[in-house]
Point group: C2
Chain length 217, copies 2
């Protein structure tokens, strides 16, 4: 078990130490992005940041806290970016706009795939992800609420499915077939997925479209 230290974290007051903290976080991000989680040890991070290991532990009680802060910032930035993209959508998004939106999302995902992956694997970042997704889905609900065709349907559930489906495609692709992340055909199909979904059963009330019984006992 790694030694537990209580909140021994010193708050950076002077601009000198604030720069130090930034350098440490930046170094951690760089190492995780270019060398993967295996290489992410505190000694190396400190070295890359150009500070001593002791300095690192002045500002972060332990390695996990450092990564947690990194994850917090990353997710915050991504959420803000995505919400901004939502905000630019006009009242009735055309397929072209949806497609454009897909591209924006895909660029976000392409940004630092390996860092992203590592951060998402941290024990603590689950909670952050849930919060971020909740924010995103809430923002999407607002957009969907403008659509008269969707009246009466379960907007929360639709937002959930949409966000996760699009995210699944983009994440899988950037992580496993990064060379295809640029392929316009992928965006086109993604757009079709979204538009087709939103138009499917449009107007009809939410009365059991395709009743299913769970199979198996």
């Amino acid at each position: 078990m790694p030694q537990k230290t209580e909140n021994r974290r010193r708050k950076p007051l002077q601009s000198r130490s604030r720069q130090t903290v930034e350098a440490i976080l930046e170094a951690a991000a760089q190492i995780l992005e270019s060398h993967g989680p295996e290489q992410g040890n505190t000694n190396r991070i400190a070295q890359r940041a150009g500070v001593s290991i002791g300095t690192l532990y002045q500002y972060f009680p332990n390695k996990e806290a450092l990564y947690a802060e990194l994850a917090r910032r990353f997710i915050d930035a991504q959420s803000a970016e995505t919400e901004r993209a939502f905000a630019t959508l006009p009242l009735r998004p055309t397929p072209e706009l949806v497609a454009h939106f897909m591209v924006t999302l895909s660029q976000l995902d392409t940004l630092s795939p390996r860092l992203q992956r590592t951060l998402f694997e941290l024990p603590g970042s689950q909670a952050l992800m849930v919060a971020a997704n909740a924010r995103l889905e809430a923002a999407l609900v607002k957009v969907l609420a403008r659509e008269p065709d969707l009246e009466g349907r379960d907007l929360e559930m639709i937002a959930r499915v949409l966000v996760r489906a699009v995210d699944g495609v983009l994440r899988d692709t950037t992580l496993r077939e990064p060379e295809r992340a640029d392929d316009p055909r992928l965006w086109q199909e993604l757009t079709r997925l979204v538009v087709g979904y939103l138009e499917a059963g449009a107007g009809q009330p939410p009365d059991e479209p395709g009743r299913v019984d769970p199979p198996g006992g």
Copy 2:
């Protein structure tokens, strides 16, 4: 760095040792599922399996190889299960059948979420996942090829998008909102997603539906 050992792995010949190997793999799976990757150390695995640590290393050159074998079996089993489900689909799947299919998939994902997650995070299992997904997508292409409405469309791309979208929704949900994995409304929306997608632009040739330029220089 963990000591590298070459292929020192002894092949289990007698049924006694074959049982031992099974016990080790089973123990590893149990520990990963119930206590997470942090608790997955070889000493503990051996103890749980009821064998000595030395025995474990008779059959697995190192910890990674053990996990790799676990991942291989898991992915193999899941792929086989999914392909079997595909095989049962009739020539023209109705929405009801698609929904039923979703439920099958979702049950697969619910099986051992934590083990699954851990295995997918292993450095080596990326390649396996790619292979498994390729298999799945190939199987799906065959199913899609029966659909006259999809003639002329890029079936590989459609399969890619479908598999990853559905997978994204199911994985996200089982991992982060497991209580909702049972929700029939989720299956209904998933079904709508799939059916809506397949029907969107049905019959029209693949001539740029929604032309997009990548934004940002």
